[in-house]
Symmetry: C2
Subunit: 468 residues, 2 copies
């Protein structure tokens, strides 16, 4: 039912609504691809990988023993699935890990909040620090504040992030986390707490990385849950109205950094012609420490791996499919940078990454380059029955593959619906139960389709031993 | 629109659906009551009380300094609203407070969970305890387990609570919390962790009281968040399948008990005839410590007080309205018991309590006793335009007023929609942002209507000084 509905949609509006005037006809999709796609809508493997990784390893913060266990788990699983050239490619990082964390309003309205330190936060030490809170409604407001309003105080920065399907709110409203700590430190702040970059209303803070700008002294930096951030806003307003009483906060954010090892896990489906550049797909193996990293990014690994497994099970594609489970994405895209260092000089037929949760794919963008429009349009045509809108032929993005895309490597972007992604992103709530199995299957079907189009015709493996 | 829709519903089905055959006509509602009801649908006071209490006091656990601040806050607010006979009636309790809490699976799949101790839990001490986990799917299964399966282990009990509008799942599925700790202790368990009694999927455990049965040794008892409980179930199944490896847990639940003071806060709208028994309305002032107690039960105080304030503003009712903000409800209904001790021997015209969140009222039950059917049916008739179904004339319930109802005091039950109540109940997520302002207004309108019916005709206050 779902697919015939989508087929009707395809006939009615194959191009974005705003460009309906002259939709060019899309190419006919080979039966073999339609067949693979239909079978992938019954996929169980992606769920199994997601469930097993999040249960047997759980949280797997970059550079920790848990991330190392995840790599070993990954190698065993990828080998047992029959992939080739399964290996770990190690690289050194500086790990950051959290310890005890708490925050309380000392006065005028004593109460505790829920907080999580941001990545690379300085440590307050176990005794914590106490200071007066000064509030700002945005990172821009903090930027323009005079130093004397900030010096020696604990800065609080809010924002007004709202839901978007494409996740664009994350870039725009992420300023308090990305730039806020450096700006506050430059103005002499004691510490900074921000409203979590998220769209939910649960007492679960959103972790996330920030990097102090060069030459800026690290200060303690944490994210309050959104209900707590709104409570702090109310308290600041009341205290100001009530004779301008100062709002005093006691903040404890213990953390440490140390040299550590991380690594990418790589596996392949060898192509019939090893001289041809591979198609790279993947996601990241590390997760934040608060949840089990189900949507960020066990699902991405699972979707892309299940798709590659379907191609492998169908026969041998023309081109090699390379699966990369990147390490240490969350704290600085280290896995992507290591891959670029080792393989960036070699050609790739296309690269694509799944790292935006487990929501349905609603749009396909690509940037395959000159002379490959027919391939890009075949991709659009083949994906449309899954309810996927043809997007740009001049755009693609990704986090770990971002540097390669920037360097001009051909890329595809399968955009997941992010309407609810930032309810869970980087929170303790990123757990298996948040994934819808049918949505996950639609993802597997889309990635299987994409690989079937880009990795080239699949030929059955020659049978050995037995005759038909 | 809402009200005319409900009026249509009333004409079609004034009685429960299953008893449609012979609906008796409901009595005509006096214009003065309809007018008060309509005005109450524009109420702002209930929101204001809820916002102010949850912001300026925040969490207010029974017997703590925060509950004492809440009483002082309550007296000031009730006096400033112009109520009479505002007072605190103190009583002693044994308070229970939590300290550091953590839980981790040591093996075979190391990871941390989120937990909250249950009320009256024994303390593990700061070093915590380590033990093998034995899992049960229900409290009944634990009951029938042989002692040797439990002795020296950490018991885990799950359950299958689902949503119900009337909250009946709480009674049925609450066994792991209410009886589980005593049963586990009797069988020699080291400690017990349960799946939170709730219906959400967030990493927020549901606190709640339990009481060790007489003669039973207190053991540490905590509630895991629901995603964590499901993760533990998966881990137990995998470990058993994987060669029967034991699942080992390290559990830290620090807590202490000590003698403390609590109290009820009482205020009145004096009736024209002080010799007549009063109408009692209220909720409870204390809350669990994890959230700010917005739906449990700031909203209940706010709804009932805003309704009484509307009656007072309209003039003087025949009967006194007594508002009671009960103390220490959560840890054992102590406020209700203290009220019963002091006033249980005196007649009450009716008693009613709002303590089931801030969802819309969908049903009215009452148990007013013989010879008062016309009053009860007027109540049904007057509430129906708010979308409230006439329920039983032989039932009413409540927690703090429960002992009085059991003793035969006439009572009314305005049932709130509890479909989402157990997503938030006793969790850190019980915060202001969860309340819908329009739902809150419908509650105020219902309680105003109920008081207008039961407290008797309101007469305008004689004007003083100025002439009309």
């Amino acid at each position: 039912m779902m697919r015939s509905l989508f087929a009707a949609f395809l006939l009615a509006a194959p191009a974005p609504v705003l460009a309906q005037s002259a939709p060019a006809p899309l190419p006919q999709v080979p039966v073999v691809i339609r067949t693979l796609q239909a079978a992938a809508l019954e996929d169980h493997l992606a769920w199994k990988i997601t469930e097993d990784l999040t249960t047997e390893v759980g949280p797997r913060l970059a550079g920790t023993a848990a991330e190392a266990r995840a790599r070993d788990w990954a190698v065993a699983r990828l080998r047992s699935l029959g992939f080739s050239n399964v290996r770990i490619e190690s690289f050194p990082i500086t790990s950051w890990t959290r310890g005890a964390e708490s925050v309380e309003i000392v006065g005028p309205y004593p109460q505790r909040f829920v907080i999580a330190a941001l990545g690379n936060s300085a440590s307050t030490g176990p005794e914590g620090i106490t200071g007066e809170v000064v509030g700002f409604d945005s990172e821009q407001e903090l930027e323009t504040a005079p130093e004397e309003a900030v010096r020696g105080k604990i800065v609080f920065v809010s924002h007004a992030m709202s839901r978007t399907q494409d996740g664009s709110g994350y870039g725009f409203f992420g300023g308090p986390r990305r730039q806020g700590p450096s700006v506050a430190s430059r103005k002499g702040a004691l510490a900074i707490v921000i409203r979590s970059i998220g769209t939910d209303y649960h007492r679960n803070p959103h972790a996330g990385v920030q990097k102090f700008a060069d030459g800026v002294k690290p200060i303690p930096a944490g994210a309050l849950s959104i209900p707590d951030a709104e409570q702090l806003q109310r308290i600041l307003v009341r205290a100001a109205a009530n004779g301008g009483k100062p709002v005093t906060m006691h903040l404890t954010l213990v953390s440490q950094t140390q040299p550590a090892q991380s690594g990418n896990v790589i596996a392949e489906v060898p192509g019939r012609d090893p001289s041809l550049p591979p198609v790279l797909v993947g996601g990241h193996l590390d997760s934040w420490d608060l949840g089990t990293g189900a949507i960020d990014d066990a699902a991405g690994l699972a979707i892309t791996t299940a798709a590659a497994h379907r191609i492998k099970s169908a026969g041998r594609p023309l081109r090699t499919i390379r699966i990369v489970w990147f390490g240490s994405e969350e704290i600085g895209l280290f896995g992507g940078l290591d891959y670029q260092k080792k393989y960036g000089g070699q050609p790739h037929h296309a690269i694509a990454e799944s790292d935006f949760g487990a929501g349905r794919i609603w749009k396909v963008d690509s940037k395959l380059g000159k002379g490959r429009e027919s391939e890009a349009r075949m991709l659009q045509s083949a994906l449309a029955p899954l309810g996927i809108v043809p997007g740009s032929l001049e755009a693609a993005d990704g986090s770990d593959i971002g540097p390669l895309i920037a360097a001009g490597v051909p890329a595809v972007g399968l955009s997941q619906d992010g309407t609810h992604y930032f309810d869970l992103h980087h929170t303790p709530d990123d757990t298996l139960d948040k994934i819808d199995k049918e949505d996950l299957r639609q993802n597997v079907a889309a990635w299987t389709t994409m690989l079937a189009v880009l990795a080239g015709p699949i030929e059955p493996e020659p049978k050995r031993g037995k005759q038909r």
